[in-house]
């Protein structure tokens, strides 16, 4: 399990927290506003409590200017 991976029951990990930090310490509210979601949903995604839809995943990746695989990863420890 690499850096940035959260402990959760969901099979998808994410790097949103690190990417926000690297993009001028973008707040959860700013990211939420950029993709049309609530701040609480961004917080839930970051905490590994909610897996976003494919469309939302692409929208998040576009905000950071990276591919979706740079933001979300399948956990190798799970089948």
């Amino acid at each position: 399990m690499g850096p940035g991976f959260q402990k959760s029951g969901l099979p998808i990990a994410n790097q949103i927290r690190r990417l926000r930090f690297e993009h001028g310490e973008m707040t959860q509210s700013e990211l939420a506003q950029a993709i049309g979601m609530t701040r609480q949903t961004i917080a839930a995604i970051e905490a590994g409590k909610y897996s976003p839809s494919l469309e939302a995943a692409f929208r998040i990746a576009r905000v950071f200017g990276v591919g979706v695989e740079a933001v979300f990863q399948w956990r190798n420890t799970l089948p």
Binding site: T41, A44, Y50
Partner: protein, 138 residues
């Protein structure tokens, strides 16, 4: 806390307060034999519920206006859908259980109160499920 979660809390608390008072009065009336009329109680508690819900929702909207104006996002829609799906099963079970008081020969007003209780319990189950999913994740 998001506006939708606040809304679920408002529903849970206001329904508990208003219909807790209603059914408390109904049960007390049955025990003592000197209760107010069910219709009068229902009107009073119904109006109190509407006023309380409206006031608390306005207060919640004032404290987070942008959140209140924004449409539900995909997570909120998922939570709403799952909670209402659960509510459907709760309501189905409770409505089917209405045959029990009918079979036991309860009065029409008692049956109406059991039906109202079914709606109240379903509303509480939906609001409670929403709160749990907002807190624990979906």
């Amino acid at each position: 806390m998001s506006f939708r979660e606040k809304s679920a809390w408002i529903t849970l608390i206001s329904v508990l307060l208003c219909f807790g008072a209603y059914f408390g009065a109904i049960v007390t009336g049955h025990i003592t034999g000197r209760g107010l009329s069910s219709m009068l109680l229902l009107v009073v508690c119904g109006v109190a519920l509407v006023v309380l819900q409206a006031a608390l929702h306005i207060l919640a909207a004032i404290t987070s206006p942008a959140d209140a104006r924004a449409p539900r996002d995909e997570r909120e829609l998922l939570i709403q859908g799952r909670a209402h799906s659960l509510g459907y099963y709760v309501l189905t079970g409770l409505v089917l259980s209405l045959f029990i008081p009918v079979h036991l020969g309860h009065s029409a007003i008692d049956i109406a109160n059991f039906a109202l209780l079914s709606l109240v319990l379903t509303t509480l189950a939906v609001a409670g499920a929403q709160i749990v999913m907002f807190r624990r994740g979906v």
